[in-house]
């Protein structure tokens, strides 16, 4: 996982609440707990620009392990939280083994919307761009998707392809894209 040097993530108050790390027996409480986890994971990943989590690694990070409280989320519990997020459309398993997961702090559809807006406002309709340019090019430095995981970018572009708003061509690793 790549973590950029950036100011520390400000954990919400829930993170200092010891029972937060224990699956709650009451179903209403449990639901509320899962929602809080979902929004915490999303804002954590957004802050560090993480697009995927490797569960085994992630449960050792501060996200799932509060060293100050000496509380941690167990692997099965982390899996359950992520299953909840998958059900909510906020996460997606990368592999069938359920070891790595996409965290959709923006869903591919949402990224697609941002891309379209950007292309329109910069007048790059009908211009051929390489995916590399889109992700790492100078023009997109100020954009939220700058430095994005290429797989996520391809997923987002595919949304646009399905809608007939873009065309992707070229070989893997050096795709180009044209927006309509």
């Amino acid at each position: 996982m790549t973590t950029q040097i950036k100011e520390e993530f400000q954990f919400p108050k829930t993170y200092s609440f010891p029972p937060f790390f224990t699956p709650q027996p009451n179903s209403n409480t449990r639901h509320s707990q899962l929602q809080k986890w979902s929004s915490l994971i999303q804002s954590y990943c957004r802050h560090y620009k993480l697009y995927r989590l490797n569960l085994i690694d992630a449960i050792e990070t501060p996200l799932f392990h509060n060293a100050a409280l000496k509380k941690r989320v167990s692997l099965p519990e982390a899996r359950e939280i992520l299953e909840f997020m998958v059900g909510d459309g906020r996460a997606e398993w990368v592999d069938s083994g359920k070891g790595v997961v996409w965290i959709w702090w923006r869903r591919p559809e949402e990224w697609a919307g941002l891309l379209v807006d950007w292309v329109e406002s910069t007048g790059q309709k009908n211009v051929v761009l390489t995916v590399y340019e889109l992700v790492d090019g100078e023009d997109s430095v100020s954009q939220e998707w700058h430095g994005m995981d290429t797989d996520v970018m391809m997923k987002s572009l595919n949304v646009l392809v399905k809608r007939g708003k873009a065309q992707v061509f070229g070989n893997e690793g050096q795709e180009g894209v044209k927006f309509f």
Binding site: P12, K13, T14, F17, P18, P19, F20, F21, T22, Q24, P25, N26, N28, T29, H31, S32, Q33, K36, S39, K70, K71, R72
Partner: protein, 262 residues
């Protein structure tokens, strides 16, 4: 004529006359008394009116001032909210005086203000019901309402405003009420009574932050079964959260979770 003490049949007539006279006089006295009281009241109301008009902006913007003003209204028996909610009361007043005192004075703004606070309170209670089991601290509620979620919509309110707003919901039969546990007041949005044992445990949590079975057994001299029952009930109602990662199970109150919910 009537002063002569009669002994004959005429005495009966005299007595009726006298009692009639007294009754008349009494009625006269009562009506003068009433009209003088009415004058006093209307003078006071108009003074209150002038006062409120003069200070209307302060009343609207300064929560402490507003609470004091509301207190004055309450002392003279004018409940601003009750007056606006119970339409029947207005019928007894003269024409042109209908509507609550707030409405008369502030052109509806104050009523709207409390209703707006009430709406926020209801929203907040519903939103947090699954996390706190329908028991929301008045203080937490005030802080949250003060922050506001929508753009530029933080309302600076006092605990008093929140209590008043909850009270304004009463006529709706919505089941919102205020309960006091230990030193804290809570808004209860799920109609359920706490028994004394449950209230005691919540009070302990206020002080120590959490409870465990052995704490209850040791400090309150409860048998294990009793402590276990109370805890189980609280857990089932969602009023406490479980932390199973310590040496012993600990039960925490979700009250201070609120700041970042949502």
């Amino acid at each position: 004529m009537a002063t002569r003490r009669g002994v004959g049949l005429g005495a009966f007539a005299n007595r009726t006359q006298a009692s009639q006279f007294f009754a008349n006089h009494g009625a006269n006295l009562r009506s003068t008394h009433l009209s003088s009281l009415q004058t006093q009241l209307s003078v006071f109301q108009s003074l209150l009116h002038t006062f409120a008009l003069e200070h209307s902006s302060t009343i609207k913007s300064n929560p402490t001032f507003r609470a004091e003003f509301a207190r004055i209204c309450n002392t003279i028996g004018v409940d601003p909210l009750a007056a606006s909610n119970v339409k029947g009361k207005n019928a007894r007043r003269g024409p042109g005086e209908s509507g609550s005192i707030w409405t008369q004075i502030m052109g509806g703004d104050m009523n709207d203000f409390y209703f707006e606070v009430a709406v926020r309170v209801v929203e907040l209670c519903r939103e947090t019901r699954s996390e706190n089991g329908g028991l929301l601290g008045v203080e937490e509620c005030r802080k949250r309402v003060g922050k506001g979620k929508a753009i530029g919509s933080g309302l600076e309110v006092t605990d008093d405003d929140v209590l008043r707003a909850v009270k304004s919901l009463e006529p709706l039969g919505s089941g919102f009420s205020i309960v006091r546990v230990g030193s804290k007041q809570y808004i209860r949005s799920i109609p359920k009574e706490l028994n004394t044992d449950q209230a005691t445990v919540l009070e302990v949590i206020q002080i120590s932050g959490y409870v465990s079975l052995s704490m209850l057994q040791l400090n309150l001299n409860w048998e294990k079964a009793r402590a276990q029952t109370v805890i189980d009930d609280l857990l089932a109602d969602g009023l406490v959260w479980l932390d199973a990662q310590g040496k012993e199970y600990e039960y925490w109150s979700p009250q201070n979770l609120l700041d970042d919910s949502g």
